[in-house]
């Protein structure tokens, strides 16, 4: 893909800025670094960076994978530079319109339950699960983004999901909120 024009760029920003910032934030741990990383990624794209570094293939899916790849690499670079940083939870973008404190607490509980479980996985597993289920990338795209083999991605997802299911089964009996929320 050659350097996108501003309409394309606006469309790509609209479509991907939030998922990319969220993804970068899962690596850097803080929103501002994540935004910087994503800004750099888009600027690279805007300047035709995809042209020079891409390995071929020029469809939109590829653009998406490219954006995630660059975001990931830059976020990891950033992390290496600031490796001593302890990430903080940032809730800046959460809407304020919350229900009463009790309801909010309850909601928090059930939502964070799954996130707690995710914490039990390895960083690798967490990352592929994010890419797969939060960003809807295919195995191949995840492989491209993470520089892992497709087989490796399949293995990480398989073991990650298996572990989550096991944890969920253990939790379900003790945590009513969890079963409440889905399916």
């Amino acid at each position: 893909m050659p350097a996108p024009d501003s309409l394309e760029l606006t469309a790509l920003l609209d479509r991907f800025e939030r998922p990319l910032v969220r993804y970068a934030q899962s690596i850097t741990g803080d929103l501002e670094s994540a935004r910087d990383v994503v800004q750099e990624t888009f600027i690279k794209l805007a300047r035709g960076g995809m042209n020079s570094s891409s390995e071929g293939g020029d469809n939109a899916r590829h653009t998406e994978a490219w954006l995630f790849t660059v975001t990931r690499n830059r976020a990891l670079d950033h992390q290496r530079k600031f490796s001593r940083i302890i990430p903080m939870p940032i809730t800046e973008d959460r809407p304020c319109v919350a229900p009463g404190p009790a309801a909010a607490l309850e909601q928090q509980e059930s939502a964070s339950a799954l996130f707690r479980l995710l914490d039990a996985l390895s960083p690798n597993q967490r990352e592929v699960i994010r890419l797969k289920f939060q960003n809807d990338l295919s195995y191949r795209e995840i492989a491209e983004v993470t520089s892992l083999s497709v087989t490796n991605v399949g293995f990480l997802l398989h073991t990650g999901l298996k572990k989550l299911r096991q944890l969920l089964r253990e939790q379900t009996s003790e945590d009513f909120n969890l079963s409440r929320s889905v399916l």
């Binding site: 888009f42 805007a46 939109a60 998406e64 919350a98 289920f133 929320s181």
Partner: protein, 922 residues
């Protein structure tokens, strides 16, 4: 192959492209034969759906506005040869430090008793000039130090100029980088915070680390909140609901406070508008009604910010108040036109639209002039500021192309309230040269009742009509109808100018008036000699004294409106001052698609009948309506100056049945808005009581966050996510075994029992594969069908990123707030105009956006200054509460600055009137 094979999982997830046909067959056989494996698959699918839903609820912030802008900017500039090292940054260390102070200032609060375990030190930084926007610094230089090293904040002194937008910091005195710890936060200043706040130099002395919990408020301010909170220093995190207790108590800050590591910097960018509404902190007022205390927006000029005092126990918090977003989300109400007297300020969030009818009447100016020249101050009701403004012609450009008029806007500092902006909207009707004027069929309807027998009435009237007759061409026809005790045709339609002059000369006053029968007769005559494609107009000259016969106003007005539809328009000329029925004449002209002028002097007669004859006779556009939509990100409140009697309901703008004002050839229409920029202190705004029944309005019931155990193929799942919205997911298995994922986010979702389709309400946003459909209004709803089809009802925006090989296609229609290009977000307002051709039934829409370039008063145009002076004159005559710093002296000064060429001497005369008014009010 068994269920514990990654390939099995891949198949369940629809990842079939890397499976061989043999593997696929084997897995499908396993699923069909082995119920345990099938159960595993179902469990994995359920988990996948849940992950999709829950993970979608995780906060996903967009880029900061300036970052987006930088990206789009990068697309315009060609790529540099070297790799990108730096990106535009507006706020860096110093900005943050200062911003931290500034935010504190803007709120005027200091929070103490936060503990900071390790000392933080920052070498003194002198503050000087340069706006916040211009704070560029190399962030890399500023983020170097090794983390565990103690950091000291020695003393940042920052004399801060008014308000956060004018933060001044000098980058020149930066000490060597490694000593500096980058900290600080810039809160998104709420649009409702601000005002002119000036502080003393503030001193930051050493600090330590935040620990937990209690924040106490210095001073008796009730509420405080910040969406983000700044901390300095080591790896200490402060999380979970700290309590803010103030002297007025009862405030809880929920949310998470974030700390920055010593080696790390953190910025909170200023994101006006939407972003600041979604701040992370929620305010709860235990004590009932929740008000934005004025103390928050108006800090005293000498408020001392005693940040970071007394190590090791001191810590300072500064924050900006985010107005309750709840109010924001309840939508706009439409209470825009209940002003009876002078228009007051309206909040943009409640009334984003200002709608009014064009008006070219000028009578009020002449009436006021007449009164002032007889040493009388006009009653407030006689002062219609729009008529004062429109009395003058301004140098607006001629329309281009086919449009009958041009529209121009100018914005600059409001001279009587320098914190405010003054927006001038100007329309200019196409000039029609005299020789191109279509033939006219004029009927003079002249009041010759006894009350007209005064020097400033009938004789002046005769003089006026003689002037008019002189201007007429050979194709123009005139008839004269008089009305008094009896009504009669004095002159049958003729093109003979001498006959016209003679008939005018013969007019004598006497008897009483039955205006209504005269009006009927005049229209009959006009219709009899109707000129198709020409000007057909009754020109009524009266002192407005209707004292004989059954003058049923509404019947008369109805008749005039009907005749106007038939193509005969009405111009009204008022004479005399003793019993002028001003309000009636305004209405007559309004209904008759004409304009109302008051003739007090031969000069004025010349203006109406000679200088502006084309405008008086030739209507170039009718039912001209203006609607201004203000951008809440830029404008907090506004006030339309004048046009009180021309206000329309916002729905009337698009209603072609709704009558509005006409514009004649060469006429100019000028309207002024006094605008309070977002973030500035808003003048008192009339409010209504809270709605009693609002909560009872029918709303679609959301489906409980639970769904059937086994819903069959392509089941749609609904989950409530942690942000309080719902996530709706569907995994649709396609014919080839691949799976199409659909994820929808909305405020509410409702399942249709019969079909299993799901209806989405409250800003739905549906992503299906790479394609996305986003609602752009709160009314928009969408349907996700079991078949996987997405239907949108109401305004929405679709974003298609077609993954077809051979290139990406991007299509975008309309926009959602976040997706709006920065250029649109920067707009102050959009002016919309509707008009009809003089003989047309359908209106045409024109739109003009306006960006405020920050023009100062000194940079404004002459016409702008003169119009401001006229508005000031109107406000002083009305004794307006909005007159601010306007005095007779300042009005005269502004008018003098705006005098310009003044060929006709009207502006010079205005200066005399100002002088006269000043003497009379003394």
């Amino acid at each position: 192959m068994n269920a514990d094979d990654p390939k099995f999982t891949a198949h369940v997830l629809g990842e079939i492209e890397d499976l061989t046909p043999a593997e696929r067959a084997e897995i499908e056989a396993l699923l069909a034969s082995d119920s345990a494996a099938a159960a595993e698959a179902a469990e994995t699918r359920a988990l996948a759906a849940r992950l999709r839903a829950e993970l979608s609820g995780e906060a996903a912030a967009p880029l900061a506005e300036h970052q987006r802008a930088a990206v789009l900017e990068a697309a315009k500039t060609p790529a540099p040869a070297s790799k990108i090292v730096q990106f535009p940054r507006r706020a860096t260390l110093l900005a943050m430090l200062a911003a931290c102070a500034v935010v504190g200032i803007s709120v005027g609060l200091v929070y103490q008793s936060l503990q900071m375990p390790a000392p933080v030190s920052i070498p003194p930084v002198a503050a000087a000039s340069g706006s916040l926007e211009n704070l560029h610094a190399d962030i890399a230089r500023l983020t170097v130090a090794e983390p565990p090293a103690p950091v000291q904040l020695l003393g940042v002194s920052a004399p801060l100029a008014p308000a956060h937008s004018d933060l001044r910091v000098d980058m020149g005195t930066l000490p060597p980088a490694p000593d500096i710890m980058n900290t600080g936060a810039m809160m998104p200043p709420s649009p409702h915070v601000g005002g002119s706040v000036v502080t003393n130099p503030n001193t930051f002395t050493g600090t330590t680390v935040l620990s937990t919990g209690m924040i106490s408020v210095n001073g008796g301010v009730t509420t405080f909140s910040s969406s983000t909170i700044t901390t300095f220093n080591s790896n200490v995190s402060l999380t979970q609901a700290p309590t803010v207790s103030g002297t007025n108590g009862g405030v809880t800050v929920l949310g998470t406070l974030a700390t920055a590591d010593a080696s790390h910097y953190r910025r909170w960018e200023n994101q006006a508008g939407i972003e600041s509404e979604t701040a992370a902190v929620q305010l709860q007022d235990r004590g009932g009604s929740h008000q934005l205390p004025s103390a928050v927006t108006k800090a005293s000029p000498n408020q001392q910010i005693a940040a970071f005092t007394s190590p090791p126990t001191g810590g300072a918090y500064a924050g900006s108040y985010s107005d309750t977003p709840r109010d924001y989300l309840q939508g706009f109400n439409t209470n825009a036109f209940d002003a009876v007297a002078e228009n007051g300020f309206l909040a943009v969030r409640d009334n984003p639209l200002s709608t009014f009818s064009a008006d070219v009447d000028t009578a009020s100016y002449a009436i006021v002039r007449r009164m002032l020249s007889s040493n009388e101050l006009p009653p407030q009701g006689a002062v219609r500021t729009e008529e004062l403004l429109n009395y003058f012609t301004y140098d607006y450009p001629q329309p281009k192309g086919d449009a009958p008029f041009s529209a121009t806007m100018e914005v600059a500092t409001c001279p009587w309230e320098p914190e405010h902006r003054l927006v001038r909207v100007g329309l200019k009707g196409r000039e029609v040269p005299r020789d191109q004027r279509p033939p006219s069929n004029l009927v003079f309807l002249i009041d010759v009742s006894g009350s007209m027998n005064m020097p400033n009435k009938l004789p002046l009237l005769q003089q006026a009509f003689r002037l008019l007759i002189e201007q007429l061409g050979p194709k123009d026809r005139v008839a004269i109808v008089t009305y008094a005790g009896s009504t009669g045709i004095v002159l049958e339609p003729t093109q003979d100018k001498e006959a016209m002059q003679a008939a005018v000369d013969r007019l004598r006053a006497g008897g009483s008036t039955n205006g209504a029968s005269g009006v009927q007769l005049a229209y009959q005559v006009a219709e009899r000699s109707f000129i198709r494609g020409g000007t057909n107009r009754v020109i009524l000259a009266t002192d407005g004294d209707w004292n004989v016969g059954v003058t049923n106003q509404s019947d008369l007005l109805g008749m005039i409106a009907q005749k106007a539809k038939g193509g005969v328009f009405l111009t009204v000329l008022g004479f005399g001052m003793d019993n002028l029925k001003d309000s009636m004449l305004v209405k007559l002209a309004d209904r008759g698609n004409g304009h109302y002028a008051y003739i007090d002097t031969p000069m004025e007669a010349k203006k109406v009948f000679v200088d502006q004859l084309s405008g008086t006779l030739v209507t170039i556009a009718k039912d001209v309506k203006l609607q201004v939509e203000f951008n809440p990100a830029r404008v907090g409140a506004y006030r339309l100056i004048g046009y009180e009697k021309r206000l329309l309901a916002k729905e009337d703008f698009n209603n072609d049945k709704k009558d509005a004002g006409e514009i004649g050839a060469g006429h100019t229409v000028t309207a002024l808005y006094e605008v309070v920029p977002a973030g500035k202190e808003t003048p008192p705004i009339a409010t209504v009581d809270k709605l009693k029944y609002a909560a009872l309005a029918p709303q679609p019931n959301p489906e409980p966050a639970r769904s059937a155990e086994n819903g069959g193929p392509n089941q749609i799942n609904i989950v409530t996510t942690s942000d309080g919205r719902v996530a709706v997911t569907q995994d649709k298995t396609e014919a080839d075994g691949s799976i199409t994922h659909t994820l929808a986010r909305s405020d509410r979702a409702q399942r249709v029992a019969e079909t299993g389709d799901v209806l989405l309400y409250g800003m739905p946003d549906v992503t299906q594969g790479l394609n996305r459909c986003v609602a752009t209004t709160p009314q928009t709803w969408m349907k996700l069908a079991r078949s996987g089809k997405v239907e949108a009802h109401g305004p929405h925006r679709t974003l298609v990123i077609d993954g077809a090989p051979g290139g990406s296609k991007l299509a975008q229609t309309s926009s959602d707030p976040m997706g709006l290009p920065a250029s649109v977000r920067n707009e102050m307002l959009t002016l919309k105009l509707r008009y009809k051709a003089p003989d047309g039934d359908k209106s045409t829409l024109l739109e003009y956006p306006l960006v405020d370039p920050g023009t100062s008063w000194e940079e404004s145009s002459r016409d702008f200054r003169f119009a401001a002076a006229v508005a000031g004159y109107g406000m002083l005559l009305q004794d307006s509460s909005h007159r601010g710093q306007a005095t007779w002296e300042s009005v005269a000064a502004w008018a003098h600055e705006g005098l310009g060429e003044d060929k006709s001497g009207y502006r010079e005369e205005f200066l005399n009137l100002v002088k006269r008014a000043k003497e009379l009010t003394r």
